[in-house]
């Protein structure tokens, strides 16, 4: 008898706690995209060089990502991106944009990113972790064969050392071929 009584008390306590946590409160309808994004976010396992930030914690579909490569020619920079996910996710890839003007063969001066898995090779089973790691890979291995900034791609193809120097000076806010770039050094 005593045991039943204490179990009941515990049950009541749990119910109270659930109420205090906001469970049972009427919530807005959660979309399929939101559910999927939430799952992807809880499964993120990122290297310390990739960070996510949520300016509005209630909005999981719009967030910021910063990448700080710890090797390669873009080492020492911090590159910022906006991620916009629409309600067709995961049938459509996230829209990713670089918020800085940088010198990179696969990123144009407006910040558009050319990464195969964000375009023609997107598939719904790819998760956000794969996208973020793929994005970081662009800074470890810039790719001249699929360029958005043709001048930078040509530069990389013709003279890797010269390209490297141009990357370094652009990252410090310098100009390359008359075009001034944002200072992205940490």
């Amino acid at each position: 008898m005593l045991k039943i009584w204490s179990m009941k008390q515990q049950q009541q306590q749990e119910q109270k706690e659930a109420a205090a946590n906001g469970d049972g409160v009427v919530k807005k309808k959660v979309t399929a995209a939101q559910i999927r994004v939430q799952k992807d976010l809880t499964e993120l396992s990122l290297p310390s060089t990739i960070k996510t930030q949520f300016p509005n914690p209630d909005d999981l579909l719009n967030f910021l990502v910063s990448i700080e490569p710890d090797e390669g020619m873009y080492q020492g920079g911090r590159f910022n991106f906006t991620f916009k996910i629409n309600n067709n996710f995961p049938h459509e890839p996230p829209k990713v944009k670089c918020t800085q003007k940088i010198y990179h063969p696969n990123i144009d001066l407006e910040g558009n990113v050319c990464l195969n898995i964000l375009r023609e090779d997107w598939k719904p089973v790819l998760n956000l972790n794969a996208v973020l790691v793929g994005l970081q890979y662009l800074f470890l291995e810039p790719n001249a064969s699929d360029p958005l900034n043709k001048d930078a791609a040509l530069d990389l193809q013709r003279n890797r050392d010269g390209f490297k120097r141009n990357v370094r000076s652009s990252m410090a806010g310098g100009a390359v071929a008359g075009e001034r770039f944002d200072n992205v050094l940490r």
């Binding site: 399929a32 049938h91 090779d121 997107w122 089973v125």
Partner: protein, 86 residues
């Protein structure tokens, strides 16, 4: 002693016959659960299995195949998605 049964309640459980990968790769919900647009699991929200052996909630896969960018390919292996016939 004689017993008469007035009433009985049957209880059963079910499971899709597909062990490989417990969740749908598109919505990441368990196969035994529903796709995001359905309410009741089971026959109302069936699975579809491709020749490539990849399985999805049928509704999730159909939605993917109607997008232009899918090009009719499996969301997992990017081979042409053809329903397995067996």
């Amino acid at each position: 002693m004689k017993v008469t049964i007035d009433k009985w309640i049957g209880v059963s459980t079910w499971h899709w016959n597909h062990a490989q990968d417990e969740v749908c790769g598109i919505c990441r919900v368990a196969f035994d659960g529903t796709c995001p647009t359905c309410k009741y699991p089971g026959d109302d929200c069936p699975l579809i299995i491709g020749e490539c052996k990849h399985a999805f909630h049928m509704h999730c896969l159909l939605k993917w195949l109607t997008t232009e960018s899918s090009k009719g390919l499996c969301p997992m292996c990017r081979r042409r998605f053809k329903t397995a016939t067996e």
